[in-house]
Subunit: 406 residues, 2 copies
């Protein structure tokens, strides 16, 4: 990897075991880590404005290359000041490479895997071919043929103007066997080179680039990928691809992979954001996370909370909350909990009002942020192990960070 303060400076301010608290210094301001990064998928976090995200205190959001190249398109984005200018967001921005989405079209997404479907066509579009040069597919918006190559991915990300771009990669599915995963990972490494070459010649000089470690669930492929990515001129490292069949396997893959990474590299974990996964991954040394879970759950009437036995979530529309005057989570400082009862939110969620989607999205983002911020404060204070234990035992972030009574 390279270290170039003109693009990105990563400062580690505290450690506890493998966990790190730090600051990513980007051209659009600092991002205190660990940090959760909300998904502004198609240019907005669904239901929220950029001003909402700033007022919730988020320092970085993520834009999706796949969606933004189809609409509004990279030319228009470049013309209108990138996503910062377009969406009125003046803090840090990371963009993904589009690889996850186009390969989900080909391999089927996580939901397809769970339901036993393989390689089915998604309702969102269809893949025409996968080759050494990239992926050809049809736009889900207008059916137009599209080609996403390493070069185009970087060009779109240059137009987006992200502070941190990700290299184009194949996100291998859980059902991929060793041989497929090995060949795919090697191609991802060749794409890494193409991305860096394009970026060196055409990319914004202040845009950082993260490499992506693939290799599926196979330790030797992950190890080879770490070696390859760490040797390249990247500014940080993302962990991508399937992390296993279940949470224990995901933790095993991460536990085996992370110690091999350069200590100085900021690490991003792609697509992970449930409360227990965040706590465990922070403990293993991850800096930043993006994930659809908090916002998608919010749009579907599900609120995040502290109860591990209910997977840190509950359905707000249930009858048991019909007369409940309490906020979603006691003590939660978010604007949703400050001004709305479970009874009111239950009513709005049950009848499908979009106000419910917005208010639950706000709570879930704020709750996730509080959880991660609590972890950061705990690492700085040398009590992360206790904090993680308290979260796993069902305490809220603010309970888990409160001083222990003597």
């Amino acid at each position: 990897m390279r270290q170039d303060p003109a693009r990105l400076r990563f400062e580690i301010v505290a450690r506890e075991g493998s966990a790190r608290a730090g600051i990513l210094h980007t051209p659009h301001g600092p991002v205190e880590t660990p940090a959760f990064v909300p998904l502004a998928t198609r240019g907005s976090v669904k239901g929220l404005s950029s001003a909402d995200l700033a007022s919730l205190g988020f320092e970085m959001i993520l834009g999706n290359t796949y969606h933004l190249m189809l609409a509004p398109g990279e030319e228009l984005l470049a013309e209108l000041g990138g996503m910062h200018g377009f969406a009125g967001w003046d803090r840090a921005l990371i963009s993904d490479s589009g690889g996850f989405q186009v390969f989900s079209l080909a391999h089927g997404g996580v939901a397809d895997e769970i339901k036993g479907r393989r390689g089915g066509r998604s309702s969102h579009g269809s893949v025409l071919s996968i080759g050494e040069d990239g992926v050809a597919f049809r736009s889900y918006l207008d059916g137009s043929p599209q080609l996403l190559t390493p070069q185009r991915s970087m060009a779109v990300q240059a137009a987006i103007g992200a502070d941190i771009a990700l290299v184009f990669d194949e996100c291998t599915p859980f059902h991929a066997d060793f041989d497929y995963t090995a060949a795919s990972t090697e191609r991802t490494h060749r794409w890494l080179d193409r991305c860096l070459r394009w970026h060196g010649e055409h990319g914004p000089s202040d845009q950082a680039v993260y490499g992506i470690v693939q290799g599926g669930v196979y330790p030797e492929l992950r190890a080879r990928s770490v070696e390859r990515v760490a040797a390249a001129a990247v500014d940080g490292i993302a962990i991508g691809g399937t992390l296993g069949r279940d949470k224990p396997q995901m933790r095993a893959v991460l536990a085996a992979t992370l110690p091999q990474l350069p200590v100085a590299a900021p690490r991003h974990l792609l697509g992970i954001g449930e409360p227990d996964d965040l706590i465990d991954s922070i403990g293993l040394g991850i800096e930043t996370f993006d994930c659809a879970v908090p916002t998608r759950l919010g749009r579907h009437g599900v609120a995040l909370g502290p109860d591990p036995e209910r997977r840190y979530r509950f359905e707000v529309a249930k009858a048991r909350y019909a007369r409940d005057p309490a906020p979603l989570v006691d003590g939660c400082p978010c604007p949703t909990c400050a001004g709305h009862s479970r009874a009111y939110l239950r009513h709005l969620a049950k009848i499908g009002e979009i106000t419910a989607a917005r208010l639950l999205t706000i709570h879930n983002l704020a709750y996730t942020k509080a959880l991660v911020e609590g972890a950061r404060a705990a690492i700085v204070g040398g009590r992360f192990a206790a904090y993680a234990g308290a979260i796993r035992a069902g305490e809220t972030p603010w309970q888990a960070t409160a001083p222990v009574p003597s």
Copy 2:
């Protein structure tokens, strides 16, 4: 009518011709009039929170009896502090009677009239019978049989805890003939008596009640209705029912009806809220307006603006705005225009993001509010006629209120 400061005190602070500027003093604070009242139909203005409405400066919102009696229901509302407590709204509140909605189920709504459908069943439910006692219908939520009577309407509105309740009435459709309208209006007058009797015995002592003038497009029926309503112990008067086939007929009905009303009575015009209608109706002496137009247009990608030739509106998703860096309306001080270009809003509206629905709803409400506030300031300054002329000529509210350069 009656005048009882414990319920409602209406203070007229300025007049110009028939137009009045005033203040409605309600138990939940003052409402400067003329005023536009956003629809919190089922307990929220779709996409917005009560805090959003307060921060936009609205002093009164409207809750729908028909929707709120079906969910969450009057018992739950009463238990949770009425709609003020339930929705976290601490300013003035008006509730409608449910009459408009249940009779729309029977007669077909405005959209049905335009399309030539009559008496069809709405997709939202079905009417079982209409009689002297009220209307029996099926809930669109669970199919349960419901009976909406004058008494139940007032009981629901007592549970809602509105500062201003409306009596139960039949909203006659445009296609109703003289005989039907005459008989319906007489029944509405009998329902007025029932509502006032119930309210006198069981209603909140600080809740004001507005009577509703019906009579369709027939001047003699309107005159009789005015006489009947004005003679009753009401705190204000609403104008309901069909106002004609088109805008000229609507203005004719209003122009014939309003001079017959007691001067001291605050007047509410039901269901009217397009910019030109607001200006004309304010000129004829209306205080308050509720209407779905600004919010419904916003959810469907249509923004309000100053151009009379385009019906004061434009479709944001049109290709012509794809690269337009300007706000929706130049000089508009609303949070949407302050932070978002037409290009960005066009992108979000075109792909159907709910952020677009929210941001356009905010603009349309703020624009409507600015238009009506400008009218108020103009009446106070004795220049309403000029203001109305400027709006009709295509100026924005802030252009129309700016001092004329000498």
